[in-house]
Amino acid sequence: MKRALPVVIVALAALLGAALAAAMLDLPPHAVRLPGAVAANLAASGVAHPITAVLLNFRGYDTLLEIAVLLLALFGVLALVKPHAAGAAHPAHPLLQTLARLLAPLMVLVAGYLLWIGASAPGGAFQAGAVLAAAGVLLRLAGLLPTWAAPNLLLRVGLALGLLVFVAVAAAVLGHATLLTYPPALAGGLILVIEASLTLSIGLILAALYLASTEVRP
């Protein structure tokens, strides 16, 4: 009886997959033309890259909630680790340290590049934040960063900065129109400010998710 359960689950999942595939093959053409709608409003969005326009202007809401969710996940992790387990760094072999010392500044530069290019081509705060976080992970692996099980004040500000700036801008433009609709003249600059703070926060949060949850053993 207990042995049969996984078989049943696999069979049902396979059935679901097949049903999904059949439904996809049967779908009618798009009823709403979203790419057209995005392209039509791109000029007013303040950026030239459609995906950045969607993320930070048309659907800025989603991004706002997303950074809040990231922060919540970090709170969860921080609540689970014991702060007294926080330990200093254990330096790794010099070879690895050298690699980390060389690569981390480059990752900062590339993160800046991805942030900048997001306005006109693929790239943006998420990718830049992920690269920034990778720098933190590499430095931690090389034993050059302590754990972040108990973040200090500066780090906490950095972690929350993206959300705070986003909310502040949203509140500031609230008089203009509905929530998170920017005046077109200011949109480009506002998006850059939001994106820069988002990059920093996403990078720090993702790095902290690793740096807080990993142990201190060498």
Binding site: L99, V110, Y113, G123, V131, A134, V137, L138
Partner: protein, 91 residues
Amino acid sequence: MTLTFALAIFLLLNLIVALVRVARGPTPADRLLAALLFGTTGSAILLLLAEAMGQPSLLDTALVFALLAAITGVAFARRAWREEAPDDEPR
């Protein structure tokens, strides 16, 4: 069929063949080598795709691949490969 695309297919096939090493092992390091191979070959495929599809932004993806290629290997050597544990699953 352009040359760059044909080479991209060839490299992808190469990767898939290299997965045999993940299956054969015998040590954890041998298995991980295939994942490391994916870093180098993956960026080569992306470079070729960037040329073949006329998408220069894929160069940035290849750059990110190469920039972060070290992390998986380092994490393995520093954290995961502690002792010669027998190849069984922890319960």
